[in-house]
């Protein structure tokens, strides 16, 4: 933070390098026989199409804005409630993790079955916003400086006064950190529905209509515009977050860096934990079937948990369905694992490298941002032309969706090494490499599991997207084919199974994380 103008200059410099390299690569048609357009062509195209954009942009921003606002209110409300009533959090944990882990492409067709108009867009945006904002609110409200709470209590204050005078205000930086992630999420969610949902106006609609033209410059223009909006919302909320963080710091009161863990289960006995786990699982099932009942959908289209089990095990085509599901899982899961591993490894190596050579970091960052908010349908032709439709393409897509969040987590852990420890090491004449080895590396290894936990559901999503757009294998393809065949049982089964695996993976990693964390943090 101390050299913010320096880092700003570095970022500007690296952005310039990116622009020049991009332009050259595009002009010389170095990638995929010219399918990767130069920046000048993209902006030229944007200018030519300027009459088309306002209405699309307005529609997308409107749905994303409503979804973001409603989602934030719900998520902040839940975060506050969960911080107050721990049992409530524990019971709804399954629901929260499901919203975090559910591959959004699974939800689109389902939402379109149940709702009309802008509702599916708004709901998907809400779901995209919910988890990051809820968790950061929960942590921000819960993890306050305990002395501040005692000041309130000793002056005759109740828990409500602590909430009112301390918690809500102290949580602002964390809440804004959550909103910062939620904004781009809402935008992508809305575009996903626009793309698939027969929506008249929206950037996603425009993307779909433009796909058939075989003009990459248009597709990249739409993508860059989306990236810009995501970037702006990220920046605005970062600024607010930084502002409140500054005003929350006095020199003696230390605010904890926001963590990403939900409450640990340590204070429960094994039996209580089991009961809570089952309760939280049942809450998901109850909400699932309850929502279907409330929406009053045809039972042919809308399948609840019981119907899915029946479809798989007692239905006439159950054996066939099980075979198809298992072979699809056999294709998808290993690739998700490999992609996740590659993404983590690359993120780890890069984070370490950047710690040694910060200049590389700022040069790399713009690329990372673009890769994150480019809609995948626009990138697919490029990926397919460069990497083919083999396992490699799948791994590349998976890598691209897991790498960035992992990198951010690991880099954060590296940079938050206690300065005191570094000072001690340096006072003994430690070189940069030694500081890295003795202090930062152990810390980064700890964060690797946190990164894995956050990236695991995305890895599954990445593989499914690649399967559905490029390779035609596995769960992603099974989902897509089932839609063509009106195989509603399979649509819901794939949804349920992919969520189940994403949640399982998350939970296993989080258990490992807690055990290892216990070892390191005495």
């Amino acid at each position: 933070m101390s050299s913010s103008t320096g880092s700003l200059r570095r970022s500007a410099g690296s952005l310039l390098i990116v622009v020049v390299v991009w332009e050259l690569v595009g002009k010389l048609e170095l990638i995929a026989g010219g399918t990767f357009p130069p920046l000048s062509a993209i902006f030229g195209r944007l200018y030519d199409d300027r009459a088309d954009y306002p209405q699309h942009l307005a529609a997308t921003l409107r749905s994303a804005g409503i979804g973001f606002a409603v989602g934030s209110v719900i998520a902040i409300g839940c975060g506050i409630l969960f911080a107050q009533f721990k049992m409530l959090e524990r019971i709804f944990r399954g629901v929260s993790i499901t919203f975090f882990a559910v591959p959004l492409i699974v939800l689109v067709p389902v939402l379109l079955l149940a709702f009309q108009g802008t509702m599916p867009r708004i709901i998907l945006a809400i779901i995209a916003v919910y988890f990051p904002v809820m968790v950061s609110t929960l942590i921000g409200v819960r993890d306050i400086d305990p002395r501040l709470a005692e000041v309130i209590r000793v002056s005759g204050g109740t828990d409500r006064d602590v909430m009112r005078f301390v918690r809500l205000r102290a949580a602002l930086p964390a809440i804004f950190a959550g909103l910062r992630v939620g904004g781009p999420g809402a935008l992508l969610g809305v575009m996903l529905v626009e793309f698939g949902g027969g929506v008249r106006w929206g950037l996603g609609t425009y993307l779909l209509g433009s796909l058939g033209r075989g003009e990459p410059a248009r597709l990249w223009g739409i993508g860059l515009l989306a990236t810009m909006i995501a970037g702006i919302s990220y920046g605005v909320f970062s600024w607010f977050g930084a502002y409140f963080l500054r005003t929350n710091l006095s020199t003696t009161v230390s605010m904890k860096a926001s963590s990403t863990t939900l409450d640990s289960d340590d204070r429960y006995t094994g039996l209580q934990r089991l009961v809570l786990g089952i309760a939280s699982f049942c809450t998901v099932l109850v909400l699932w079937s309850g929502a279907l009942r409330l929406m009053n959908l045809s039972p042919v289209v809308a399948r609840g948990p019981v119907a899915v089990v029946r479809y798989l095990f007692t239905g006439a085509r159950g054996a066939d369905a099980r075979d198809r599901l298992l072979s699809a899982l056999g294709e998808t899961l290993p690739l998700a694992g490999i992609g996740l591993m590659f993404g983590l490894l690359a993120a780890f190596v890069l984070a370490l490298l950047l710690d040694l050579f910060p200049i590389v970091g700022s040069a790399f960052f713009p690329f990372a941002l673009i890769s994150q908010s480019m809609p995948l349908p626009a990138l697919t032709p490029l990926i397919v032309l460069v990497f083919g439709r083999s396992v490699l393409a799948t791994v590349v897509v998976t890598f691209s969706v897991t790498f960035f969040p992992s990198y951010v987590t690991i880099a954060q852990a590296l940079s938050s090494s206690p300065q005191g420890a570094i000072d001690v090491a340096e006072s003994y004449g430690a070189r940069r490499l030694q500081v890295l080895r003795f202090i930062r590396l152990p810390q980064a290894i700890g964060s690797l599991l946190t990164a894995a936990r956050l990236a695991a559901p995305r890895a599954l999503l990445g593989v499914m997207i690649a399967e559905y757009l490029a390779t035609g294998n596995g769960l992603g393809n099974l989902l897509n084919e089932s839609r063509g065949k009106l195989d509603y049982g399979m649509i819901w089964t794939v949804g349920a199974v992919s969520v189940t695996f994403a949640v399982l993976l998350t939970q296993i990693i989080s258990k490992l994380e807690r055990q290892i964390g216990r070892k390191f943090l005495v």
């Binding site: 995929a32 399918t35 088309d52 209405q55 699309h56 529609a59 409107r62 409503i66 719900i74 067709p109 379109l112 079955l113 149940a114 709702f115 009309q116 108009g117 802008t118 509702m119 708004i122 793309f195 698939g196 949902g197 027969g198 929506v199 008249r200 106006w201 609609t205 779909l208 209509g209 433009s210 796909l211 058939g212 033209r213 075989g214 248009r218 409330l294 929406m295 009053n296 959908l297 045809s298 042919v300 289209v301 809308a302 697919t380 032709p381 032309l385 083919g388 439709r389 399967e467 559905y468 490029a470 390779t471 035609g472 393809n477 897509n480 839609r483 063509g484 065949k485 009106l486 509603y488």
Partner: protein, 336 residues
């Protein structure tokens, strides 16, 4: 009507005071504000679910809306565009629309497998425009030419491609099938050899990109299916039969008007139905001209001859979908 309508449902729940449902009512209000508001009068509202985004495939309906043909029949049409994630049959089942344009293969499969309460009352295309599109230089002129090649297929058309291969005696393992993502770039760049798409559409784009395209219809190789079949729910057929007949009459008029001059209307819709779709008007003109021979028939637009129905059932039975004549109802067309 033993089911609550969604609107009624939301009204009741909100009255019940549950916060969550109050919220859903609020969202619904937000969502509704960009839909069309009812203009009142004595017109009966009717929703139709189209199969894709706005393009020349749906010219007739746009004309009928613009020229007031529906209004003249007393229909207040709520036209719903489709898209890759919209399953038209699902809109029927979930009560979003009582009338949809579908592919006959998926519709009949749903009736056979799940007992879906559907009736086919007409067809937009006498011959399915879906075909195999390739670059001329690849020399792919019939299904057998696909052996050893890579074919991109939209995953929702799996049934159709299986039918083609079965009827042509080609085994699925003899070619590579990959997902088609509606972008012709991989075809132009030679990454795939052929794609399955509307022959009325993609060849134009390919020619714009400086390549010569060739294509053949699946219909001409034994997959004798209709497309954009007009499907209604049994419920709607008994309660809104009159309205459906009126819809068929107005829509037919729209298509008749369209084919008087296939270049006239696409340009007229440049600032309405085709505004900002990302496609060009020239593309729509090409599309409109190319689809004319696939739609015209002696019985007039939408008509279904006994022979045509037989052809559909035969093609479907090749891939194990056992439809019956009773799934088609030609009596509404007879009343036009």
């Amino acid at each position: 009507m033993n089911q609550l309508s969604r609107r009624q449902f939301i009204g009741r729940s909100a009255a019940g005071g549950a916060t969550l449902l109050g919220l859903s009512a609020f969202l619904n209000a937000c969502a509704k504000s960009d839909g069309k508001t009812s203009s009142g009068g004595s017109a009966s509202p009717l929703s139709m679910q189209a199969a894709w985004i706005n393009d020349a495939e749906f010219m007739g309906y746009f004309i009928a809306m613009t020229n007031g043909y529906y209004a003249a029949e007393g229909i207040e049409l709520n036209y719903l565009s489709g898209g890759p994630d919209v399953i038209p049959e699902s809109s029927l089942l979930s009560g979003i629309a009582p009338l949809a344009l579908t592919t006959p293969d998926s519709t009949i499969k749903a009736i056979v497998d799940d007992g879906a309460p559907f009736v086919i009352v007409g067809t937009q295309y006498q011959k399915n425009p879906i075909g195999i599109v390739s670059l001329k230089k690849s020399n792919i002129n019939e299904p057998k030419d696909l052996i050893g090649k890579t074919l991109a297929v939209p995953p929702v058309n799996t049934i159709t491609v299986e039918a083609m291969l079965k009827i042509s005696g080609v085994d699925k393992s003899q070619l590579t099938i990959v997902p088609y993502a509606y972008d012709p770039t991989p075809l132009i760049k030679g990454e795939i050899d052929a794609s399955m798409d509307f022959t009325t559409n993609v060849p134009y784009t390919i020619s714009q990109l400086g390549e010569e395209a060739s294509s053949f219809l699946l219909y001409d190789f034994g997959v004798t299916l209709y497309n954009d079949t007009v499907v209604v729910t049994k419920d709607a057929l008994s309660s809104q039969r009159e309205l459906i007949v009126k819809w068929l009459r107005a829509s037919r008029k729209g298509w008749e008007e369209n084919f008087k001059d296939t270049t006239k209307y696409p340009a007229m819709f440049a600032d309405s139905y085709f505004k900002g779709t990302g496609r060009t008007i020239e593309n729509e003109v090409f599309f409109n001209g190319a689809q004319q021979p696939l739609m015209e028939s002696d019985g007039g637009f939408f008509s279904m001859s006994d022979e045509g129905i037989e052809n559909n059932l035969r093609a479907l039975s090749e891939i194990g979908i056992k439809g019956t004549k009773e799934m088609f109802d030609t009596s509404l067309l007879a009343e036009i």
